[in-house]
């Protein structure tokens, strides 16, 4: 689920980051604010907003349900969506930072060598920003595993379907004698978080070395 969430959100995050980093247009700061909203809103509010929009009777959810028979609320797909929305700002930020750090001079050079806009994006800009993109994706994946508020509000807490680690831990604590299970799961969570952070460090360094920096 976390993998799918990152997989879906990443291309969109790259596009958004590129637009935010490279273009100036009216409404740019509004877009920036909307992208960052899930970062500052209480996750429960984000989940509630998703419920309103994507619920079976919500404006988008109704369309999806009536036309394609897709129901997001209280399903794995719903949990994925909630996760993707929550980690989106994390990814956009990380990608945008590396795009802004990328040398504009190299893009100019690519232009004089005949590379158009998309050609430059795929052959120069993105490869140069790849460390930031990868780090963003890994951190997003780890964050997604630990998503709580938005998922429980939008997709509920269904074991094996929409249950993330913190949700499982929460559920375990509610049951008498569940402390041992909660401790085990917390340990798993801690390990995953640490591995995620270390992996992103390592990957970033490896890629930077490959780029000769």
């Amino acid at each position: 689920m976390a993998l799918r969430a990152v997989g879906f959100a990443l291309p969109l995050a790259i596009l958004t980051a590129w637009v935010l980093a490279r273009s100036r247009f009216p409404g740019r700061s509004v877009l920036n604010a909307v992208v960052h909203l899930p970062l500052v809103l209480p996750p429960v509010v984000t989940g509630w907003l998703l419920l309103i929009l994507f619920g079976v009777r919500g404006p988008i959810g109704a369309l999806l349900h009536d036309w394609f028979g897709i129901r997001l609320v209280f399903t794995t797909a719903g949990a994925t969506l909630a996760c993707a929305v929550m980690v989106f700002p994390v990814m956009v930020r990380s990608v945008r930072l590396s795009l802004e750090a990328a040398d504009l001079g190299l893009e100019q050079a690519a232009r004089t060598l005949g590379a158009g806009r998309l050609d430059r994006l795929f052959n120069v800009t993105l490869p140069l920003a790849s460390p930031g993109i990868l780090v963003g994706a890994i951190v997003a994946y780890a964050t997604c595993l630990g998503e709580f508020g938005a998922v429980i509000t939008f997709a509920a807490n269904i074991p094996g379907e929409t249950q993330t680690l913190p949700l499982a831990i929460y559920a375990a604590i509610q049951v008498p004698g569940g402390e041992a299970k909660a401790a085990q799961l917390s340990l798993v969570s801690l390990t995953l978080a640490l591995v995620g952070l270390l992996a992103s460090e390592w990957a970033g360094r490896r890629l930077n070395a490959a780029l000769g920096r």
């Binding site: 232009r111 004089t112 060598l113 005949g114």
Partner: protein, 372 residues
């Protein structure tokens, strides 16, 4: 054919109005202080900066004409640009850098193997840019720009970020390149050395406008230009190796009707070459002078006419341009000498030049690029 450039642009700090027309093919050096507008010409020609008004034509081929609404973005122009800081793509090998521009055009006038051979970068092809020295990087950047198959090559201070040793490593490659290219080159530099070695034409730019433009031999000998007031001022002469005198270890050069003796040079007879005669090394004598063969160490006495005289207050000196018939030399003498010899434009004089003072410019062979 001519390369003609006309450009007007308003910057908050400076108004630029530059206009010149130079022979093409050939290397045109844009020379002048920083911020005078040289790089604006380069950026406009590349399409990276759109000036208020701009017209660039090579022969009848219009590269840009804002008044007629012709303005192509850089990626749709066939213009090669070599930046001061090479700007190689760090995530690609040298050979992928080289073919980046070539893959994006259908033209195949300039051959990959030929360029690799000419720039001596064959051994670098599989390496990555971050493992190259500054000089190697710049050679690859030049190759990459040329393989773009440009109609016009732009070089924006390509050697400025290199130390003297690296510069002299690259200059011969540039000089060799010059003889095979059949396209116009605009070359920005602050270095008189690069100007003397590479320029066919010179455009002097100051404070946003052209001070003077013309062939290098003519511009480098003008007494009234800022170029002449530099410490290292000197005229460039285009000469041909006439004969070698092995017993005396001398080489005779003919520069138009003038003859110059220089220390023996390892160049075949008939070779075209450039020499530079530093202004401070030229002694002037009034009228015709007989060379006192057994009393003076001097080899060169060149008869000529004073064409122009200009003050050089920084050196407490006066600059004299002497026309030799084929070319001109520049002489820096004291104002006192001018008064004693009563020199004025039109005066017949002789220019006395030690053979040891004549700088033979390495590798730069032709006055004009030779078609391949």
């Amino acid at each position: 054919m001519n390369l003609s450039v006309e450009l007007r642009h308003h910057f908050p700090a400076i108004d630029i109005a530059i206009e010149f027309s130079v022979p093409s093919p050939g290397v045109t050096v844009l020379f002048g202080p920083s911020g005078s507008g040289k790089s604006t010409v380069i950026a406009a020609a590349a399409g990276l900066l759109r000036p208020d008004q701009c017209r660039i034509a090579i022969g009848g081929d219009m590269l840009a004409d804002t008044r007629a609404g012709i303005w192509l973005p850089p990626e749709r122009r066939r213009v090669g640009l070599v930046f001061q800081d090479s700007r190689l793509f760090p995530h690609m090998s040298v050979s992928n850098n080289l073919v980046f521009g070539m893959r994006r055009t259908r033209e195949r006038e300039i051959d990959f193997d030929e360029i690799v051979e000419l720039l001596g970068i064959h051994a670098l092809l599989s390496r990555h840019p971050n493992t190259l020295s500054g000089g190697e990087r710049q050679r690859v950047a030049i190759g990459r720009a040329l393989l773009r198959q440009p109609q016009l090559l732009l070089m924006d201070e390509p050697l400025a970020s290199l130390d003297t040793a690296r510069k002299s490593e690259i200059l011969p490659y540039l000089a060799r390149l010059k003889t095979m290219l059949r396209l116009p080159v605009l070359y920005v530099t602050h270095s008189l050395d690069e100007l003397a070695q590479l320029a066919d034409s010179v455009v002097l730019i100051e404070a946003g406008s052209v001070v003077a433009a013309g062939p290098v031999a003519e511009i480098s000998a003008r007494a009234d230009l800022p170029l002449a007031r530099r410490d290292d001022a000197g005229a460039v002469l285009i000469c041909r190796v006439a004969a070698h005198d092995a017993t005396r270890q001398l080489t005779r050069l003919s520069c138009g009707p003038a003859t110059l003796w220089v220390p023996q040079a390892d160049l075949p007879e008939g070779t075209l070459l450039r020499v530079r005669v530093p202004a401070r090394e030229v002694i002037l004598a009034r009228g015709e002078v007989d060379l006192l063969k057994d009393a003076l160490s001097l080899h060169n006495v060149l008869p000529g006419t004073v064409r122009a005289i200009a003050a050089d207050p920084d050196h407490r000196a006066t600059l004299v341009e002497v026309a030799l018939g084929g070319g001109s030399v520049l002489s820096r003498v004291t104002p006192d000498a001018i008064a004693r010899l009563a020199l004025a434009p039109g005066t017949r004089v002789s220019a006395l030049i030690k053979s040891m003072s004549v700088e033979i410019l390495g590798g730069a062979r032709g006055s004009r690029p030779v078609a391949t």
